[in-house]
Subunit: 106 residues, 2 copies
């Protein structure tokens, strides 16, 4: 199931768009670890990601803006963020947003 | 430049996550047409997308929530949405959100 099972809005989405550097450099292991660690944080709702040749987009969903902000400050995640800036990502944008409407095909 | 050049928040993001059906079925031409048409709508700020084997994520950025809602109702886009539901997407989610914070590496 590639879709996050999110509740009725409002909730928070962090949209992380990024371009990678060449080579893995430990990225795959750390990315899997961060996904696993995120699921155990307060307010975690779900995660969706896609990557092609040009761009990666990762959306993490949180019950509140404060929950998303707390995840950013988790110690092991801070280490990963530093490694991301120095080694894994050639460029990135982070956008924190409050979801106000959501719908699917039904 | 795969990143949208968005202004200081607040602005609106529409996060469209989707899974494709098999085959193109006219999708590529229509997707390019919709991207081009979107750039000419009031309040359009930018677009980012990525797709891999499992999932596609497309983020469109708008000056206001009303601009995003107006784009949804553009006649040619309504036709594309119907074709998306009936032919191109096996499943999807649309989430409309207000960006409150944004940052990059600098």
């Amino acid at each position: 199931m590639p879709f996050a099972e999110t509740p009725e809005p409002p909730y928070t989405v962090v949209v992380f768009t990024n371009t990678r550097t060449e080579g893995d450099q430990g990225y795959g292991v750390m990315a899997a670890r961060m996904e696993e660690l995120a699921t155990r944080q307060p307010g975690y709702l779900g995660f969706e990601s896609a990557r092609d040749e040009e761009l990666g987009i990762a959306c993490s969903y949180w019950a509140t803006d404060a929950d998303a902000a707390a995840w950013k400050q988790v110690a092991e995640h801070l280490v990963a963020q530093e490694r991301g800036r120095s080694a894994w990502y050639s460029d990135y944008r982070v956008r924190v947003a409050t979801v106000t409407r959501a719908y699917g095909p039904s």
